[in-house]
């Protein structure tokens, strides 16, 4: 209920944040919406010695269309994303927790936290998105496919700050996100994100990613390969979805053992693909 003690510092620029991270040592943590970090700290499952509050850094909460891509500021709260036109991510963001959490949690925090049960990581992965990080050596762009390295671990260096998320605009794609959870406010037991482009009745591009099926979000490569180039039919989708659990390694938990999760992945994959194929 009560966090351990820590030092607190508010920063107003990305450069200050990075400098503070460097000065703060191993135990310093950025604080964005605080809706992953503070709950952990309250249960004393995390006890950073210093929090660097980036929530007041200007210019990082916004969504902008830039040619063929969307640029989403790291501090954009889920609620804003849910109300936006960003394909797939809008419907994914709307499934996160409850309105109060969506008002506070940010996309940057969600990705940086690296929790495979979070919703946005798989979605950004499905879209072949990328993140822009700032560190002492300046800016670098990290592809989503290289970003999630392990359970609650990412490619971000301890002194790097995630500033922006970029995803392709995916014009002409259909989207589906099927999240299976016991209650509306719960985390996903398993979820499947899909984006499909159909041309002349054929699935010319298929992107599918899985939430909570391994220690990181995963692309369902076997499904994508099986459906790509196939006719956009229920049969083709059903057949492809059968391969959704290939290459996964889902951890068992209270609500689901590995077997059941694999089964859910197949069921949800089919539903997500069907949704993606449904006329908008």
């Amino acid at each position: 209920m009560i966090t351990a003690e820590f030092d607190y510092q508010r920063v107003s620029s990305v450069a200050d944040a990075v400098a503070a991270l460097q000065a703060g040592g191993e135990d310093a943590k950025l604080l964005a919406g605080g809706h992953s970090l503070v709950p952990l700290m309250k249960l004393r499952l995390a006890a950073p010695s210093r929090l660097i509050d980036i929530s007041g850094v200007p210019g990082l909460a916004g969504i902008e269309r830039d040619g063929a891509q969307w640029r989403i500021g790291a501090l954009t709260p889920h609620a804003r994303l849910a109300a936006s036109d960003v394909g797939l991510l809008n419907r994914v963001a709307a499934t996160i927790a409850d309105p109060q959490v969506r008002n506070r949690g940010t996309i940057g925090g969600s990705l940086a936290h690296g929790d495979p049960a979070s919703d946005l990581p798989a979605a950004v992965l499905a879209l072949d998105g990328s993140v822009v990080a700032h560190g002492p050596d300046g800016e670098r762009t990290i592809a989503a496919s290289a970003f999630f390295s392990d359970y609650m671990e990412t490619a971000l260096a301890p002194d790097e700050m995630l500033c922006e998320v970029r995803v392709p605009a995916m014009d002409g794609y259909g989207f589906g996100y099927e999240k299976f959870h016991r209650r509306a406010e719960d985390w996903a037991v398993v979820a499947v994100a899909a984006a499909v482009k159909v041309l002349d009745g054929a699935c010319v591009d298929v992107r599918v990613a899985l939430t909570n099926m391994a220690s990181t979000p995963l692309r369902a490569g076997a499904v994508e390969a099986a459906l790509r180039g196939q006719p956009a039919t229920a049969e083709a989708v059903a057949a492809a979805a059968q391969r959704a659990a290939e290459g996964t390694d889902p951890p068992a938990d209270l609500d689901a053992d590995a077997d059941y999760k694999c089964h859910l992945a197949r069921v949800l994959c089919e539903r997500a693909l069907v949704a993606a194929l449904a006329p908008a």
């Binding site: 003690e5 607190y8 605080g34 809706h35 249960l43 309105p99 109060q100 506070r104 406010e185």
Partner: protein, 163 residues
């Protein structure tokens, strides 16, 4: 480590300057430092919503926000929504429709509902149910809470509909 930090909050329209430990939760600043005990704590995992207040107009869980994070913000609590003699339509509706029993979840429910109606003045039953999915009630089975929100909406509790 830590020491104390000065925080400026405008709570229910009144400005406050507080000296708090960085780890002080907003809910404790409101309850223990400012004596606004209408905001409750029902869990330690951000699930129950009993602590819901408005932060710059948005419904938030004040148990999951550090007081320092609210620096410079405007906070509205149940006490600021309306009091005896000038009840907010939602308070009136909760009373009329028996939307509460033990009352512990009620301030959070009302604040979450107020945020919903500010955004969506005429929600459907399903929209109300989903908008309240971050608030737990153990007494009412939600039936009368949902009814109260719908009747408050009917009575014009939400933002005026843009025409």
């Amino acid at each position: 480590m830590s020491g104390s930090v000065t925080v400026h909050l405008t709570v229910n329209g009144v400005e406050h300057e507080l000296e708090v430990e960085p780890r002080r939760l907003l809910v404790h600043a409101l309850r223990d430092d400012l004596g606004l005990t209408g905001t409750h704590v029902g869990c330690d995992t951000s699930n129950c919503g009993a602590c819901t207040v408005h932060l710059n107009g948005d419904a938030v869980k004040s148990c999951t926000i550090l007081a320092v994070q609210a620096e410079g913000s405007a906070v509205t609590t149940i006490e600021g929504l309306g009091g005896e003699g000038n009840l907010h339509p939602l308070q009136e509706a909760f009373w009329n429709d028996h939307g509460l029993q033990c009352g512990y979840c009620t301030p959070g429910m009302i604040m979450a509902s107020a945020a919903l109606l500010a955004e969506n003045a005429h929600p459907s039953e399903a929209e109300v149910r989903h908008a309240l999915d971050g608030n737990l009630c153990r007494c009412t089975g939600y039936h009368n809470i949902v009814k109260a929100v719908l009747s408050a909406a009917e009575a014009g509790a939400g933002a005026p509909v843009a025409s």
